[in-house]
Symmetry: C2
Subunit: 304 residues, 2 copies
């Protein structure tokens, strides 16, 4: 039931109406692997950082049961760095800095020990790199989940579509689903995207929840939990993905029913994430916290 | 189990990306009373129209079991008229025309036969008029539900707050909840509004569903059904209110559990509304259609 996670491991500097951080650990693969480690262990990580990346941050991953053999360290280069500032509504943000650094030439090398992976999570990265990972695996995983973003739709649509043909589940947000499909109705958008390859489409609506679409126009909806405060949305989508694939790997099947449970788990993990800065919200929780949070989600829509 | 509905009965002219209408029947009390008539009969209506209002539209209400004894007809005046144009995303609109006409001096006269009402639905109107209705009832109804909008927060906040103290349930949308409470978090906003009077607050989020808040921070969420097309959102909030109070009146209790069921019914009725222009979506349905639609809502969040 091993999970292989590919994506960025990086520095983030975040500013929200509640405060700002210096460079802290961030990156899609960081959030995904930390969060999925609550469901299965080990989680195998393929990523790249520079010599500036602190050993203590790598140890943080290891302490959570993340295998870092696949984490390349380019001693003479710098780690990927992103800096952003959220607006007052927390739904939109400005990117202040994007320094690709090591990520610019990322060659995803899969350690032999990772070859038997059952569940592959392609965190947001250049679609060509995501495709390379799939091609380098000797056997196809049981399930391939892909995250992407509008940037790749704008700059690498052809490659994105080629990669899409190879995956089982695509996770994107509502605006991206509309952009990719050319359809405003999310029902139509999901249908169109499913015709591009993935059997399942998850459309994330941020504070408005998420929709899972599957075969025969099946739809499942999970709300977002109303929270006292949303402190920092960075990483929420990646935590969603981590909880999603983590639950599926733990249960070991890829039915619509299991995926529906998995989007609830993903939403629960995302809700922890946004309550604190960076990864803080998801590194100090335990199984009981997760169980209680999942119950809060199911209670939210439960009729007596 | 009688329902008394107060609000506008009016002409609307609507333009959406899908087409436009001439003056058609509209108004909060029209939608509310038509929709609640699927749950209980008769629904008693207090409203005012001008001599220009077609007899056929009044007959439409009567055919649905709406008692129009309380519908004042000012023969020498004109009916309230609103015209609006929706933007492409259907989430925002421009008001093109607002002619108050008869509504400017609306004196809500309650026929004696309406005095024993159990459930009072105050559709969106000047809060002073809403308050007058409550004062003119000889006995307090079991439940008073109030709808309002940001216009009254901007122009009659003091009167709005006085009326709020007298009601049990307030229905407003998310932006209005934030404006009224000064809180961005909807959890905090609902808590603040509940401290102003109503024991229950419903925050409508349009295509993102609705939240019911009650005592002891209880929360229930109902999603909006993903639809192939949203054709015309006019009246959706009023149809929600009609289904909500209709279900409560039918069941006959005002517990949180019944209110949670009622927001599902309200959402189902709103989903019919947006599929067609004006009232078209809610006048040709039957109990089986409603049952099927309610099941679609419960299936949407059901784990296997």
């Amino acid at each position: 039931m091993s999970i292989l996670v590919i994506g960025s491991v990086a520095f983030d500097a975040i500013e929200t109406p509640f405060g700002k951080t210096d460079k802290i650990i961030g990156g899609a693969a960081t959030y995904i692997s930390l969060v999925s480690s609550y469901f299965v262990k080990p989680v195998n990580l393929v990523a790249v950082v520079g010599g500036d990346f602190p050993k203590s941050d790598i140890e943080l991953l290891q302490q959570h049961g993340v295998d870092t053999k696949g984490l390349q360290i380019k001693e003479n280069e710098k780690s990927f760095f992103w800096s952003g500032k959220y607006h007052n509504d927390m739904n939109s943000r400005d990117t202040l800095v994007t320094e690709l650094n090591v990520l610019g030439e990322f060659d995803p090398i899969i350690p032999d020990e990772y070859q038997d992976c059952d569940y592959l999570m392609l965190g947001n990265l250049a679609p060509q790199v995501q495709k390379t990972v799939i091609e380098r695996l000797n056997k196809r995983p049981k399930l391939i989940v892909m995250d992407t973003m509008n940037f790749w739709m704008d700059t690498a649509l052809g490659e994105l579509k080629e990669t899409l043909e190879l995956v089982d589940v695509l996770c994107i947000n509502d605006e991206e689903a509309r952009q990719l499909s050319g359809e405003y109705s999310l029902l139509k958008a999901a249908r169109e995207i499913r015709s591009m390859g993935p059997n399942f489409v998850i459309i994330k609506k941020g504070e408005h929840g998420a929709l899972l679409f599957g075969e025969e126009d099946r739809v499942f909806f999970v709300p977002a939990l109303p929270l006292e405060e949303v402190f920092d949305p960075t990483g929420a989508g990646d935590c969603f993905a981590g909880g999603f694939i983590g639950h599926i790997a733990k249960v070991g099947d890829t039915s619509f029913a299991t995926m529906a449970e998995a989007v609830v788990k993903g939403s629960a993990m995302a809700s922890f994430c946004v309550e604190k800065f960076g990864t803080e919200g998801v590194i100090h929780i335990n199984q009981e916290d997760i169980q209680r949070r999942v119950e809060a989600f199911t209670n939210l829509v439960r009729l007596q």
